[in-house]
Symmetry: C2
Subunit: 337 residues, 2 copies
DNA sequence: TTGTACGCGTTATCAA
DNA sequence: TTGATAACGCGTACAA
């Protein structure tokens, strides 16, 4: 467990000053090839690696970016994370993961991370910060990009949730469904941009356009998970008239719907159509219709935008809207009339 | 974008020396309450937060631990990661994620991370380092814990893969299967400990114990993913005699088997039993029999062991073996005779 | 082209 | 109990 060698050791061994070693390390032009060689030799001999911490002291750069993620809630987040890692590893930067499980933890990170300055930039997934926090990020000069969330003060990357939900519900209506249940995700955070809210709007729009009556008891909400989705579905399926189709705000909730249907011996898709939202891998396995989000792409674009922002912190916030794709599979193959 | 205030600013405002401020921050006993108050007031007024980078310079501690993970390969890794995050967030430490996609990247991290000293400890998932690297970790004093991998020089947390595979195959034999196919994972890394190898041993043992003939053409291997699993299954199912059951080294591969069976119009479980390994969430959704690994627990125990090791780096390496649980579901409900 | 000295923001030592 | 000062390892003016 020998102590690591420092730039001083290298300088001594090479018979030069530390300044020269530093110049070699940062390949500064003005250093004679012969000297450079000597230094390189010493570096190799000592297995010297510059200490990144000491470097950070001066440069104010850490070489890592942070991601605040509600890690456990949905596979959706994992997929986005994969996109992030993917894009990030190519840049040689490392990723620090901040997992939030509740509002308290979220706000903790929102207020602490900018002060930590242990990251050069920040990605926030599905967690819209309030304006206070958003302005805080901006004020301390921490480049931040929001994914699947929106705040006017920060560059935000979202999908068109209204349109996505609209497509899903319209596809059901086109198949002749009149009574369509909707299981929304639980609305949390601020309301300027909210996935759940937008999906509800899309639901309304599709109904309205088709001249269908909006039936309040056909709409409910649940947490973003299977069990809650199942419970919500049981609730909807107990209504009169019973919905012939259910649109869930996420695939995991939709899977809960499938479970509910099975437990009630309601055949899918014969008696009940089901469509989810996200397009996570399981949806394909279960042959579940869904609204596909470009998850990987969101992660990758988020990194790209963040790096852009880190290179030029003056850039004004941007709102980027990606589009979704309707994927019709087995669970919506029944026609009504 | 005002510069952050430092300990000096606080000292000046409070009318004390920086030493005193430092003592207050680290709640050193010998500081008079009155002085402490003054300092606290100044800290609050300036919104001062100690700079963790500067702290690290002295303390040689970064407050973060690293995890080297083959991130994209299997849901298994995600689950372990969840366990890690879970345990870690309680300790106030942060997690740096190193994603490896190939051997080169793996070796890169193995050799770079110890020198970086940007992490206080390291978790390595499913990637057995060679002895050279393992001894390297030990030599530079980087506490390291291996999860789902083994090296004699490092604390390792594994499941009993031999026993797990044995249980799976035995359960098939008990149901009367005589021709059991085995799709192993691709063997990579060193061979001292290897999940794939151990599972093959378990397969052999169950066969041998039952006095069944080992049929080489019933064994194949594939990458740890669905598509490869499907291809491997197609291969096995083309053999004569056709296997009446297939054991796959992972759930994702087993799912590939299900797809292969479907495409060949082979009914599961009537004509073909299928059992996987891991016990990822999807296995439950698909009603797939499997050998359940305690994934979350592996992550949590890994963190616990690592923290133990960081507190006392002298601790000798330990080999901890967790056990698996056979979970029999729909895909293995056919009896043969 | 090269070496020296200073600064980065802390902690730790040591007088006072 | 306190304040000054020396590390920590590196980047960088500035002087040589």
């Amino acid at each position: 467990m020998r102590a690591h060698s420092t730039i001083h050791d290298v300088a001594r061994l090479a018979g030069v000053g530390i300044g020269t070693v530093s110049r070699v390390l940062n390949d500064h032009p003005s250093v004679r090839p012969a000297t450079r060689e000597k230094v390189f030799a010493a570096i190799a001999q000592l297995h010297f690696k510059p200490n990144p911490i000491a470097r950070s002291m001066i440069s104010k750069q850490t070489g890592s970016i942070g991601a605040i993620v509600p890690f456990f809630t949905r596979p959706f987040h994992i997929e986005v994370l994969c996109g992030i890692q993917n894009a990030l590893s190519r840049t040689g930067r490392e990723l620090i993961l901040y997992n939030v499980e509740n509002d308290m933890q979220r706000d903790h990170y929102f207020s602490e991370i900018p002060m930590h300055r242990k990251v050069d930039g920040l990605l926030v997934i599905s967690l819209p910060p309030g304006d206070t926090f958003a302005q805080g990020f901006y004020a301390v000069g921490l480049p931040t990009v929001l994914l699947d969330a929106y705040n006017p003060y920060l560059t935000s990357l979202v999908v068109d949730n209204v349109e996505g939900a609209y497509q899903a519900v319209k596809s059901l209506i086109d198949k002749g469904h009149q009574h369509i249940g909707f299981i929304n995700g639980i609305i949390e955070g601020n309301f300027r941009f909210n996935q759940a809210n937008d999906r509800l709007i899309g639901f309304h729009r599709a109904l309205g356009e088709a001249g269908l009556l909006f039936e309040p008891m056909m709409v409910t909400e649940s947490a973003w998970n299977r069990r809650a989705g199942c419970a919500a579905a049981l609730h909807l399926l107990a209504q009169q008239p019973r919905p012939t189709a259910i649109f869930a705000a996420s695939d995991v909730q939709a899977i809960g719907v499938l479970e509910a249907a099975r437990s009630l011996h309601i055949a899918v898709p014969e008696e009940l159509s089901v469509i989810g939202f996200d397009g996570i891998e399981v949806s394909e396995l279960l042959d579940l219709s869904t609204v596909q989000q470009p998850m990987q792409q969101m992660g990758e674009m988020g990194v790209a935008k963040l790096i852009e922002l880190m290179a030029n912190p003056q850039l004004p916030p941007e709102l980027i809207c990606l589009s979704t794709t309707l994927v019709e599979r087995y669970t919506t193959t029944n026609e009504r009339d």
